[in-house]
C-alpha cells in the first residue's frame, strides 16, 4: 500500500524533525546566560544559600553532563510530564491547554477568514482577459493592498486599530478576552466575540497577502491557457471562466498555502495578543521568555513545532493529491 508507506514515512520525518527541534531548544536553553535556579527562586534568591542551591541542582540533575540531562528530559516528555511553570505556578501541560484554547479561537478564525478573503481577492484580481495588456483598476488596488500589508508591522497595525476603534470611537474593548474581574465561565459568547473582533480583524488583514498574490498568479496563468481560450470562444464571460475553471484550478493550492502558513500566523498571534493583552498562548510565550520560564518556553516551542509540521505535512499531502507528477516521485 503506497498510501500507508507514504504516511509512515511522513510521520517518521515529523518525529525526526521534532527530535531535532527538541535538541535545538535544549541546546539554546543550555547556552543561555540565565541561571535556571535563579529564575526558579525569583525574589527568594536572597534566602537560599549555596548549600540549598547545590541541593536544587542535584535534585534537578544539573550536576550531570548535558547529554544525560537531555535524555532525562526526553523521557519525562514522552511520559507526558512537561514540567512546572513558575510564572503561572501550574504544570506546563495545563498552562498550554488553557491558553491554547483561547488562542485557538483567534488563530482559527483569522486563519479561516484570511484564507477565504485572500482567495476571493486573488480571484477578483486575476480575473482579466489575456487580450488586454493593462492591469485593471481592481487588480491594481488589490495587489497594492497585498504588497502594503506584507510590509506592515503587525503590532503597529494592531495598535492603530486599538487607537481608532477602542480609544477614539469606543466600539471595541481595550484589552483581554473578557471584562476584567469576571471568571471565564461567566463570559457569554457575544462578549467573547466582541473581545475577539479587533484582534481577529487585524490578524486577518495582515495574513491575506500571500494567498491573494498566489491565487492571482494562478488565475492569470489560467486565463492564458487553452481551456480559457476555448471557453471564451464559446462565449463565456470572464466571471464564468474565473468561477468555473479558475476557482477549482486555484483552490487546492490556496488551501495548501494556508496550511503551510501556520508558523507565520502564530508569530502574528504572539504580537497581536501582546498588543491586546489577550491571555493566550502567544502572550504566555512572551512572558516565558521575559521571565525565563524555561520549561514553559521549551514546551511551547515543541508544541508549535508539532502544529507547524502537521500543517506542512498536510500541505505536502494535498499537493501530492492534486499533482500526479509528484505522486510518482519518492517522498
Amino acid at each position: 500500500m503506497p498510501v500507508i508507506r507514504l504516511l509512515s514515512v511522513r510521520l517518521l520525518r515529523i518525529a525526526l524533525v521534532l527530535l531535532c527541534v527538541a535538541g535545538l531548544t535544549f541546546g539554546l536553553m543550555l547556552a543561555s546566560p540565565i541561571d535556571p535556579i535563579d529564575a526558579y527562586l525569583g525574589p527568594q534568591i536572597a534566602q537560599a544559600g549555596a548549600e540549598q542551591r547545590a541541593l536544587i541542582a542535584e535534585r534537578w540533575g544539573f550536576d550531570q553532563p548535558p547529554l544525560l540531562q537531555f535524555g532525562h528530559w526526553l523521557r519525562q516528555l514522552l511520559s507526558g510530564n512537561l514540567g512546572w511553570s513558575h510564572v503561572y505556578n501550574q504544570p506546563v501541560n495545563e498552562v498550554i491547554a488553557q491558553r491554547f484554547q483561547r488562542s485557538l479561537a483567534l488563530l482559527g478564525l483569522a486563519w479561516l477568514l484570511s484564507t477565504l478573503l485572500g482567495f476571493g481577492l486573488g480571484l477578483l484580481a486575476g480575473m482579466r482577459e489575456p487580450a488586454k495588456p493593462t492591469h485593471s483598476t481592481l487588480d491594481r488596488v488589490i495587489s497594492g493592498y497585498a504588497y502594503l500589508t506584507a510590509s506592515t508591522p503587525a503590532f503597529w497595525l494592531a495598535m492603530l486599530g486599538l487607537l481608532l476603534f477602542s480609544v477614539t470611537l469606543g466600539w471595541t474593548p481595550v484589552c483581554c478576552a473578557g471584562p476584567s474581574g469576571s471568571l471565564s465561565d461567566e463570559v457569554s459568547l457575544a462578549t467573547r466575540l466582541h473581545h475577539l473582533a479587533l484582534p481577529v480583524a487585524t490578524l486577518t488583514l495582515l495574513s491575506t497577502a500571500p494567498i491573494t498574490l498566489h491565487t492571482r498568479a494562478r488565475l492569470r496563468s489560467l486565463m492564458h491557457s487553452p481551456v480559457a481560450t476555448q471557453a471564451f470562444a464559446q462565449g463565456a464571460s470572464r466571471r464564468d471562466v474565473a468561477w468555473r475553471h479558475g476557482a477549482r484550478h486555484a483552490c487546492l493550492p490556496a488551501i495548501t498555502l494556508a496550511c503551510a502558513s501556520l508558523g507565520e500566523l502564530f508569530g502574528g498571534v504572539m504580537l497581536i495578543e501582546q498588543v491586546f493583552a489577550y491571555p493566550g498562548l502567544g502572550r504566555a510565550t512572551v512572558e516565558a521568555a521575559l521571565r525565563s520560564d524555561i520549561p514553559l518556553l521549551m514546551a511551547i516551542a515543541l508544541f508549535t513545532a508539532l502544529l507547524v509540521s502537521l500543517g506542512n505535512a498536510t500541505a505536502d499531502g494535498l499537493y501530492r493529491l492534486i499533482d500526479p507528477r509528484l505522486r510518482a516521485q519518492a517522498p
Binding site: 521534532l18 506592515t152 503590532f155 492603530l160 486599538l162 487607537l163 508558523g263 507565520e264 513545532a305
Partner: protein
C-alpha cells in the same frame, strides 16, 4: 512592455537610495537630539516646534524616529547579509554529497517548523539580548528559505549541459565552482538579501517591541512602539503612528526594489 519594469526599478532604486541616504546621514546630523529632553514640552502633540510631537520625557519624536530608522536599517541589513552568507554556504555544503544534502535539508526543515518569531525569541534569549544577539538571531532564523532556493538553483546548474561539458573536459572542481556556480548564483543571492531585508527589519522591530530585542535605552523603532503602547489609552496617537509609518515606508521601498529586481532577472 519591457520598458515599464525598468522604469519602476529605476524609480524604486532612486527612492530606496534616498531613504538610505537620509537614514545614514540622520545619525551624524542628529547628534544627541534623540536623547535630549525638553521638560517644558512633555507629550506635546505634533506642531511647528516638534513635527512628530514629543514623548513622556519631552524627547523630540521626529529625531527619535529618524534615529530609530537608522538603527533598524543597520541591524536589518547586517542580519540580511549574514543570513544570505549562511544560506549560500549551506547550499554549497549541500552539494558536497547526498549525506550532506540530507543533513542540510533536515536543518532547514527543523528551523522552518518552529514559528519564525518564536525561534528568534529563543535565540535572542539564549544569546542574552542586545544588538549583536538580535542580528545573529535574525540571521540564524532567516536563512532556510533562501538556502532552499539556492540549493534548487545549484542542483539545476550542476546538471546543465555546459557544466557537464566543462567537467568532461577535465576542469578541476574549484574551477567549475568559481566560474560556473558562483556567477550563476550571485544574482540570486543579491535579490535574496534584498528580499530578506524586510523580514529582518520587521522581525527585529517585533522582537524589540516584545522587550527581548534591543535594549530599552536605544531609540529602535520597536522600542519606540513598545513605549507608545503605554500611552495608547491616553490617546497620544503621535507616539506610535509616526515611527511605525517610517518603518513601513522603508520596508516597502526595499521590498519593491527586491521584487522588481527579481522580476527583471527572471525574465
Amino acid at each position: 512592455m519591457n520598458q515599464q519594469p525598468r522604469l519602476t526599478a529605476l524609480l524604486s532604486t532612486a527612492l530606496a537610495a534616498l531613504v538610505l541616504a537620509s537614514a545614514l546621514m540622520a545619525a551624524a546630523w542628529l547628534g544627541d537630539a534623540p536623547q535630549q529632553m525638553h521638560f517644558d514640552a512633555r507629550l506635546a502633540p505634533p506642531g511647528s516646534n516638534y513635527w512628530f510631537g514629543t514623548d513622556a520625557l519631552g524627547r523630540d519624536m521626529a529625531a527619535r524616529t529618524l534615529a530609530g530608522l537608522t538603527l533598524s536599517f543597520w541591524v536589518g541589513s547586517s542580519a540580511a547579509l549574514l543570513g544570505t552568507l549562511i544560506a549560500l554556504s549551506m547550499a554549497l555544503l549541500a552539494m558536497l554529497g547526498p549525506r550532506w544534502d540530507a543533513l542540510v535539508s533536515l536543518a532547514i526543515d527543523t528551523l522552518l517548523s518552529v514559528p519564525h518569531l518564536l525561534l528568534l525569541l529563543m535565540i535572542a534569549f539564549a544569546l542574552g539580548g542586545g544588538t549583536q544577539a538580535v542580528i545573529i538571531a535574525v540571521a540564524l532564523s532567516h536563512w532556510p528559505s533562501l538556502a532552499r532556493v539556492l540549493r534548487a538553483e545549484l542542483l539545476h546548474i550542476r546538471h546543465a549541459p555546459y557544466v557537464q561539458i566543462s567537467q568532461a573536459l577535465g576542469k578541476p572542481r574549484r574551477f567549475i565552482v568559481r566560474h560556473h556556480w558562483i556567477p550563476q548564483v550571485l544574482p540570486h543571492c543579491l535579490v535574496g538579501a534584498l528580499l530578506l531585508f524586510p523580514h529582518a527589519v520587521l522581525h527585529e522591530a517585533a522582537l524589540s517591541f516584545l522587550g527581548v530585542g534591543l535594549s530599552a535605552d536605544q531609540p529602535a523603532i520597536g522600542v519606540l512602539l513598545g513605549e507608545s503602547m503605554r500611552h495608547v489609552s491616553g490617546g497620544d496617537w503621535w507616539l506610535g503612528v509616526f515611527p511605525g509609518a517610517g518603518l513601513l515606508l522603508m520596508v516597502l521601498c526595499i521590498q519593491r526594489l527586491g521584487e522588481t529586481l527579481r522580476r527583471a532577472w527572471s525574465t
